[in-house]
């Protein structure tokens, strides 16, 4: 994660499989960005990407640490989870690919749209994963220009 010097940093924890709490951290991140006065269009993209990442943690991982880092030029959010990991990232990034269970689908998720939607909303997305260990998503939104 790139988070130079005098930025604002805040850490959160996300519990896997806890559907009733799913989305709380993204909602909090959205509130923080609103308080700081970030442009609404950027907040919206960051909120959507965070929510998709948080739902994935709840659906597929055991737990995760989320780090929000704000500098003058960018919002950077890292989602570092411990869990099953992703075997084939390229496949997971494809629209429509999903290993969601019926329970997740009944809740309105599992269409295989989350990772592509994160990529579409972010200015920069890095994903790394170790199968059996966990996945890290590093998402950046630039505050001045670009996208």
């Amino acid at each position: 994660m790139i988070c130079q010097g005098n930025g604002f940093i805040k850490k959160f924890n996300v519990q896997g499989r806890n559907f009733s709490h799913a989305g709380i951290v993204s909602t909090k991140i959205k509130e923080i960005l609103e308080e700081i006065g970030i442009a609404p269009a950027i907040i919206r993209r960051a909120a959507i990407a965070s929510y998709e990442a948080e739902m994935n943690i709840v659906m597929y991982a055991d737990h995760a640490e989320v780090i929000l880092c704000l500098s003058l030029s960018a919002i950077n959010i890292t989602f570092k989870d411990k869990g099953q990991g992703i075997n084939n990232i390229e496949l997971a990034m494809q629209e429509g690919y999903s290993t969601a269970t019926d329970e997740m689908r009944e809740m309105g998720f599992g269409a295989g749209l989350g990772l592509p939607n994160i990529k579409r909303n972010a200015d920069k997305l890095d994903i790394s994963s170790s199968p059996g260990k966990g996945t890290t998503l590093d998402v950046t939104f630039y505050l001045n220009g670009k996208k």
Binding site: T27, I48, L113, N117
Partner: protein, 119 residues
């Protein structure tokens, strides 16, 4: 179209948010799939849905929806209603099913989400 007109057209009950009945709604979308709502929703949306879990309210907040209407007489539980109160999102419930609820609103001139899907 104002939310209160929508409420009348759908003969809907207001679950919470009586202060928002004068909000102007410019477009609507109906889906039970929050994945789709997150990918194709737009700010200011009126979301019609047949799901009633708390994720419907969270999703509405995240995409900046103006209101949520539950079809088939559904209603979220107290946690969902409380969250909607905190987030200033009015919730309504209509007894009509999804197709009819959307059709009635479309007939009255409420536009759908404008989005060209890249192929």
């Amino acid at each position: 179209m104002k939310l209160k007109e929508i409420k009348e057209i759908l003969e809907a009950d207001l679950i919470c948010g009586e202060n928002y009945l004068d909000v102007e709604i410019e477009c609507a979308g109906g889906s039970d799939l929050m994945s789709d709502v997150l990918a194709f929703g737009q700010p200011g949306l009126l979301l019609l849905t047949g799901l009633s879990n708390i994720q419907t309210v969270r999703t509405a907040d995240i995409i900046g929806a103006n209101a949520v209407i539950y079809v088939r007489g559904k209603k979220p539980d107290s946690n969902g209603i409380e969250l909607a109160g905190q987030k200033n999102i009015p919730l309504l419930s209509t007894k009509f099913m999804m197709y009819k609820a959307c059709g009635l609103l479309y007939n009255h001139g409420l536009a759908g989400v404008e989005r060209t899907i890249k192929t």
